[in-house]
Symmetry: D2
């Protein structure tokens, strides 16, 4: 297992293909390093006694101790540990763990491509195992590149007026393929070492060139990442806080005629498996959400509770109701993750697959409630997060004393602590990163809300419920 320093060193050595605000930058640019803070925790916490058991696992292919974010789940317990781990780190980081992308992609491929091989005699699973060994040995950080730009939403891939709106094979060579297209919403791709690419939807036989899955180094020739970076508010040093450390870069990842060698291809034209692979990544990623969203929920409810305490309104019944509602959202989502592990099954490769229904209703509940949770935090915080003077004003020799005096709340809590908790609420409620990471990603991450409905309805045994209704109505089926 690597240290965070080794990870950063590797990033620094990579080819420059990251663009932010029109500039081409290296992966040692402070903006990139800053954004990787949550991922760095997955390296730095590995020996922390509280995390040791959660953050490491035993590789089922090598028997070695590996980072759990490179592990293929072998049991319900593995799924539950990943869920608990993700909740904990998201809580401590104050935001998205980011590294789940890679492990969710790896598990998706692991659980699907053996079935492709069985049907078509392809060598995907064997290739995958080789890649997996490299991945685990080198403790790799990978991004997931799934969502195509999709152009006209009413047209299938092969029907698009611009054929590149879904990533596709434009040339087939003996040693590999050349692909073109772009994948969007690629969280953390600018500080990932590998990109794992899978289809974004089910395909028909006409979509053959679009049914492609592979992994390549993130600095491969022809790959361009156009990033949108966002951070929490930056503060004067004396008022700094862990929440300021978190950041995020979202990438539009362009594949401009990129060559992919055969040994890194895991699906290539087997269209009927495209949808399964797309859904499987979504499934693992929604399982991650049953951990990370309760982690964010912990932060929101903790902030709410401290705010209520400092303002001396903690005993008011509307505060209690809001806290009970926040707990309910977080724990229902978490319960859905546990149930999805209890009812998980094994793929043909032995990979543990969480239950589709429980994962999806859990993720769905999180997504349906994130705006509501922030709304409740906003109710309790009052307007001050939006109107709070900045840290330079707090430190100002002229007006600093006023800021310090007038942000104070109940007796017994220092002015600085009051300021700090309102500033945290400001980060959660009024920052660009908060909007991006809690709200938009809270709704769309791991698949948009309507995709969860589709996933649920596609798998649910509604027939048995119809039978129940007909039985009760006295209708002979």
């Amino acid at each position: 297992m690597r240290t965070q320093e080794q990870y950063l060193e590797h990033l620094a050595s990579m080819r420059h293909n990251i663009y932010i605000d029109g500039e081409c930058i290296g992966r040692d640019d402070p903006r990139v390093v800053h954004a990787s803070s949550a991922i760095r925790m997955t390296f730095s916490l590995v020996d922390n006694p509280e995390f040791k058991d959660l953050l490491t696992a035993t590789s089922h292919i090598t028997g070695k101790r590996i980072n759990r974010y490179t592990h293929i789940h072998q049991s319900p317990e593995d799924l539950m540990k990943k869920q608990e781990l993700t909740r904990k780190i998201c809580g401590i980081a104050g935001g998205c763990i980011q590294r789940c992308m890679g492990v969710d992609m790896m598990n998706a491929i692991s659980s699907v491509v053996k079935d492709v091989d069985t049907k078509y005699g392809t060598p995907y699973y064997e290739r995958f195992l080789k890649f997996l060994e490299y991945f685990q040995e080198n403790d790799i950080v990978a991004a997931g590149s799934q969502t195509d730009t999709k152009g006209d939403r009413a047209a299938r891939p092969h029907e698009q007026w611009d054929p590149d709106q879904y990533l596709h094979v434009v040339e087939r060579r003996p040693d590999g393929v050349v692909v073109r297209g772009a994948k969007v919403h690629n969280t953390m791709a600018p500080y990932a070492e590998e990109l794992i690419v899978v289809p974004t939807r089910a395909m028909t036989p006409e979509d053959k060139d679009y049914a492609i899955a592979f992994a390549i180094p993130a600095d491969t020739e022809g790959v361009y990442m156009i990033g949108r970076a966002a951070y929490m508010g930056q503060r004067e040093p004396n008022l700094d806080a862990p929440i300021s450390e978190i950041g995020d870069i979202e990438s539009m990842t362009v594949f401009d005629n990129v060559f992919v060698p055969n040994e890194r291809i895991f699906l290539n034209g087997e269209t009927e498996f495209a949808g399964m692979l797309a859904l499987r990544f979504a499934l693992y990623h929604r399982h991650s959400y049953t951990g990370c969203k309760p982690g964010i929920g912990d932060v929101i409810m903790g902030t709410t509770s401290v705010l209520a305490d400092y303002q001396n309104i903690k005993k008011q019944s509307h505060i209690k109701e809001k806290l009970a509602e926040m707990i309910s959202v977080a724990e229902l989502v978490y319960a859905a993750g546990i149930a999805s592990a209890v009812k998980s099954t094994k793929a043909s490769s032995g990979t543990q697959v969480p239950d589709v229904i429980f994962c999806n209703v859990g993720r769905r509940h999180a997504g349906h409630n994130i705006y509501h949770e922030l709304n409740m935090l906003c109710d309790v915080s009052g307007g001050l997060p939006a109107t709070l003077p900045g840290t330079k004003d707090y430190n100002s020799p002229v007006v600093g004393k006023f800021v310090q005096k007038y942000v104070t709340r109940r007796e017994g809590v220092s002015s600085e602590d009051c300021y700090r908790i309102f500033n945290l609420a400001n980060d959660l409620l009024c920052s660009e990163l908060g909007s991006i990471s809690f709200q938009i990603a809270g709704v769309h991450g791991g698949g948009s809300p309507i995709m969860e409905d589709i996933a649920v309805l596609g798998s649910y045994d509604l027939k048995s419920r119809e039978k129940l209704a007909k039985h009760l109505a006295g209708i002979k089926d």
Copy 2:
């Protein structure tokens, strides 16, 4: 284990102390027998291969095969089986299983009174085990009598202007105590053989006479049950259906100076355990709700789906959204039950206690959504459940042909089947029993919504979330 006939025979032999509409009736009155239909299924299905494993268990005190509704849970699996069983029978019955009352009371007492004995040297647990043996041997049906009438809600038991508004000891004798008061919302008490009585709330030392728990035969001298009976709509024989069989009697159970012998007393003045016992019954009963509410959810979503099919609107996206929402409610509640078993713990007596948080957020979610689910069913059914001609009109030689013609929907579905599904929707949406059993009991059964918030906030580790917020804000705790 008994047959339903043996159960009914025993009921018939009991002293007449049931009052409905001003009449005193026996337990062989058709209104009583009708209402017991769901309970009778817990006897009649015991040899059904689909239910055998769920409906029976091995007694931990005698090693004998017993009905699960008399079993003390010994493991997470026991809890999951009770949950699954309850969901299944509620689905088939089309409503409340009713028999969970007794088993939930028994588990509550089993998990609490050993701690009382440890602290006070009382003999409650030993007494309880004797009662339990009788209970299991005779496959007893018991009601739970918990909710006091409570009078002025702003006053504690000993502060009430009428001291009988909470049940209490009015006389202490060497061989037992005499109690007075009334317990309300006693579902199925009129066809229970035993009444198990526990406190309804936490108590202070001044409430000593109110801290009383016991079990007595339901026809004990001085016990009066004043019943409210409700049934689904009754139909002409040719249009009869299983949904018509279900019924319910709710009882205001009056204890008018009732003698309780020592061997049946399980708490008597140990006020600090009153709240724990009250909450523990609520906990087991909320665990039951994680089974029964998804069972009712299955009926609602099945009915919705068949209605959409018969009207030929199944593919409309608002139908899909409603079904996805219904599935989500049912499965989140069910997931909470599973998680409460996974995270369950053992009481000092070895009784398995489900996790408080997961049980409560599950029950809470069910209660918060039941009106919403019926609202969605109503949306899909259209107005016909409310305006459907009765079965006598359906059979009328004059207008029957019109009814039959004009309730028909899409081609290929018989007029009778259309009529039957709308009639089922009528039962679910527009019947007295539907309102009582789905809506009111859906909200208040197992404790009112605010009690769940209190239970959640009383047990949740909010402190650790506050620490998380302070850590992120840079506040030293």
Copy 3:
């Protein structure tokens, strides 16, 4: 203007064509008379000083003083008076006023058919004025017959596999037409004197025979009404209360080859006006809902407030929140009605037409919230409405004293008053009529929720909002 006695006399004289529970009954049957209670109030309150100004109007055709429920609105004030009147009577009656049906139909026809005449030279408006004079002179009670049975929801009228699933002309004669079909959800039709029939939807040229509107006496040969009657719980005389008086009969009204004379036909084949007439009735009826739903809201919030008072929980903040929410629902709906009058316009005939958007968003908000309002009442009432002993038990020489003792709440409120308020809550929450009239009719009356969305989207100036967005985005339109 007539008295309620004259109205009942006329009803009693009509041909027997009402069927309930398989029986053919006269309009003097107690079930029918009982159900007409709200309508009778529109006669009996006409001289009540509090209602005089609201319940009467000046006919724009005769200049005579008439009952407002026969009036064609001539101004915004007329619309506001009808709204206020409807709210008040619904509040006093404890339910649906019912008589709005006729006046809403009359205004719909009045505001549409002159345009038909202008386009086609038809004599509909003149015929209508004659009918209106009869209607006003005789203070007629009319039902609205709009909703066809619709069979396969995916098929238009002329595409139905059973052509009678929409009412249509089956024979054309010099003196009139013969129609066949059925109209459902015909509230109060069994105690209406006239049936006013309009199309239920927009039509295409192929649907010519279905584009028919007319009025006929309710006992016309060939008309069969198959009724579903529902009432609030009946009580022992000493415990009687105004809420028990209300009732309702919903009718499936069959037109089995019914002859309609020319002078009563107001649309006949002009298909492009079918949708407008359908929507116009819906519009007037939704305007009525901006009065009646706040009236029901008044009853629900009043009951909630008294319940909270008697239980001594009125100062708890969750009670206040629920009351504020109930007030908000009622007054937003009422405000929408006011705004629809302020922004109303005149049809070519001079008839005042309320604003489509405001009426629809008002009705929509009422329909979206009725289950929610009852849910809140249920929260506050606790379980007792569902488990309340009946009035015979209250009067029982044996158990009456127990009932009276144990329904008592805070000091200072008599046992009887406590019993009465819980019994009212029982009627609102747990009665067949409550489910039908508050819940189902609350959702579907005046058109199902999706129809309001369609009406809103069909009329709203979304284009101007798109322009606004493009302007802000810097997009040239």
Copy 4:
């Protein structure tokens, strides 16, 4: 009436007492000027034919043509015009109009202080009229300073451990008073010419020194404004758009021993009027919200509709439902404003006072739904607002072509237009100003949600609804 240039000139001439990020700046600082864009529109649009009638009014004291944002409402029509005007400008500006602050404060004082004079013989109304004349003549822009910092929320003003947590009189002189304290959430105060200060809550006799209302120039000695500035995302010139122009500065306004001359004092120790004045400003400001919130709603729904169009999903039924819901929110709020004008009354001074209930339920509905509206926009926009490359990337010679290609959606819409609409969605959903202005101010502006409940419950005639319930229940009152 002035021009915007005159307004800016006056700003530039004022004493420097604005602090942002630790710097003391003048009112000609670009950050200040930028933020004033919406206010500048109230000057620049005054001769625009579309706005002329709305933006000007006739002064009731001088008979002169004045800017409506300095007018005292004299009729329901005045209120409706202010509402319509506010909606329109907010729509065109893409955010908060800001100038309503001053006019709402002026109307509040105008409608209250004459009653103080009547009771106490004070000269407040006369002073006010003089100030009003100055205000109208000079077309003044004023900020409202109401919300005190409040310290311990469980303590009244005079009970605070720091007496300055509510602004109060610290010295009384013959020619005026000296005040100390701070007012927070002072939107636009840094570019206002006058500060109008009123109490934030009801007061008891012990709070005498806190019952103070006055107006002073914003650069008065001792006044410090500590600002938090926020803007929409800034763009490369070729991609600029009107939405980028809007900005906001929120101020913590400190009164550090500020002298207020007698002629500018409008309340001074008459504690029983403090609450009325506080509520009255809230009332007028909530009335403003019935205009501005529908204006923001117009922007949100327009953006949603264009996004759906460009992605070619406009006909999907979930889009229609979301648009219908957005329309419903906006128009119910707007209807409440209309109804509040229809039911408005005259204060003793002749000032028109909107109806309390309708204003409050309107504002409340807006506040309860703003997060929900943005959630719906987020649903429809997909993740791209959060991951959109910046305008420098759009213009980049290297990656610009990729950005342009991959943000394109359906055929027929230019790449630039697609980019522009997603960028607008980015501003609405993911910007600091969006969070502050739409979300936080949407919830708390004009008073926090709980204050609306208090205002509603304080004014609503709940007694008459209780009477209705008792009448229906047969309870004698």
